[in-house]
Subunit: 399 residues, 2 copies
Amino acid sequence: MADAYLVGAGQSDYGSFPNESYRSLFRAAYEDAAESAGGLEPGDVDEAYVGTLGVGGRQLGLPGPAVTEHVGLRGVPCTRVENACAASGYAIRSAVMAVKSGMADLVLAGGFEVMTDASSEATRYWLGVSGETEWERMAGTTFSGVYAQMADAYLREHGAARESLSRVAVKNHANGAKNPHAHLGFPCTLEDAESAPVVADPLTLYHCCPTTDGAAAVLVASEEAAASFDRRVRVAGVGASTDRVGLFQRDTYTSIPASRRAATAAYRMAGVDPTDLDFAEVHDCFAIAELLAYEDLGLCERGGAVGMIDSGATEIDGRLPVNTSGGLKSKGHPIGATGAGQAVEAFEQLTGDAGDRQLSAPQRGLTHNVGGSGGAAVVHVFETEDADPPAAADGGTSA
Amino acid sequence: MADAYLVGAGQSDYGSFPNESYRSLFRAAYEDAAESAGGLEPGDVDEAYVGTLGVGGRQLGLPGPAVTEHVGLRGVPCTRVENACAASGYAIRSAVMAVKSGMADLVLAGGFEVMTDASSEATRYWLGVSGETEWERMAGTTFSGVYAQMADAYLREHGAARESLSRVAVKNHANGAKNPHAHLGFPCTLEDAESAPVVADPLTLYHCCPTTDGAAAVLVASEEAAASFDRRVRVAGVGASTDRVGLFQRDTYTSIPASRRAATAAYRMAGVDPTDLDFAEVHDCFAIAELLAYEDLGLCERGGAVGMIDSGATEIDGRLPVNTSGGLKSKGHPIGATGAGQAVEAFEQLTGDAGDRQLSAPQRGLTHNVGGSGGAAVVHVFETEDADPPAAADGGTSA
């Protein structure tokens, strides 16, 4: 199977931008990605995948062509991909397939969302559409409520304290404070997180990501096309899985099985195991989601997430830094952009371009993007071209 | 580049089904496809692409996983694809890429839409979202209005009579009357079409497709996987293109440039030209769209579409039958299902399974699926395994 590479990655600022449109935000991401790739000529990009949930409903049909045309890619085949909050993670996966199929050499994969101009009621509706419609959204369950049920179940099952959730917020805000693109790019204390208003018990405001405007994009190239770019990050592994959309329909509230299956597939394809990772960007839409991710991605044993966050192992100077970007919590969560934004962080870390957040010569990182409360998940393993052979090399059989 | 094959295809009935849900309709299509493939075992399908616009908004997030889980594919990676009315045409294209990438062996590609439970106002909104938002939908332009502008411009440019539009309706209803799955499966006369109420001048009711509930699905297999199925239809060519989403933003009202580019790419990949086709399913959301398709797909010269329809060349017993299924006009247009439904017709024609509509041993057919008023288009060329070498064989260089 032919290799695929990231050769450029970029994003808009994440935040609240009443004077920007979805088109202008996507353009900012595209231009940043093109610049990071050393510039693009007309005709270089021959395929595009664009992720968006369509919050607010402004361009629910053909939003992909609407933004690719706006950045000068009129005529380029463009597919809008939607898997709720995992939209652009799946867009990158489709781009990787397009390259591996031999039908495209350089593919744009990205996403966007404009959320801050919606009313609270509209935002609840739009976040709710990623849950199950009849028995979650229409029954009145909010998205925070769904994750609160997971948090409550997890804390009870493991006899853990809410403080561990707050430590996720403190860590991610500390990282986000070093990210010039972050929406909430300021530090917070344990006291801030603990004493913040409760959104959905046990989750306080600091255990919830913000609603954010933003866009992100990466350029995925075939091996041949990648050779003409200065910077290349290999897409070593890709894995995806789905599940029942409603949390109430699943067997467990304290794990996201789709994440588990997606990670297994990605590790197998990359021929690595979690001990081979130097960092991870995980889907922390709510603080509990980061703890579940540690376990579902195999970064620790089941029940080990509390010890992992409490020990500082996932801090930026820890054993396995998680969410150096600030994560969804501090960097922000413009739904359709989030998966691509995670890949931007991976690209920057692996090319030494992460500024104040730069890790010391990382060779391999993972991104983990979840749709809804786990109805879909997608995991990528990215590595430098000269990455050390993985500890658990087994030939890297394909997923 | 590895070959891809259709090994099964199926659909629900198309119509108005107040007692069905999007899940039950998709299940009907999936089960029909599985049965046409000789049955599937659990685990056979390892990837899915589901197209839907989301009319009515019931499950705007994760509708793909919601329906694949419902048919027993829980856990299978599923990507929701949306390119307005071209959603499932693009879903099939993604499935072909997945197979050619080597990352999947058997892929489900389909789509669905439930439209008839929406109010007239809601339907106008949902069809409008496939146009440009700010200067078309919000300015009050309806989707019929957009195509009426194209019809008006075309009739003026070529000095043609509205009667030619009506002949499209008569032909497609004649075909649809032979299709047990058709929504409007009855014949109509030229007088019916001409005297029907005007929807948007010059388009009468019979020049417009209905709003329809329905689902359709195909199974796309790698060469290796296809070998274990009884029936195989080769995906010889795939082409796609996009354009500015708003009609008013384009240079021409009398051609859909995205269709033209998509067809060129599909013919090139298949190594064929339009004279090698035995039939075509084209996107006749409005009668004018079928005439534009004749020209954009190269089935005739520019301006030749009127002569082509008037001469009967595209009737079921004509030189090049078009829309033997009844087309969007008579079979119906459940938006997300339409592209896959076209491929179902191609599969049935090429495997001799088209019942009363069966053509005499066709070897090669085309499907043409348009999103919005031409913001996206996708074209497939399907052929039997023993298709004659194309007249214009040029080695079939890849798109």
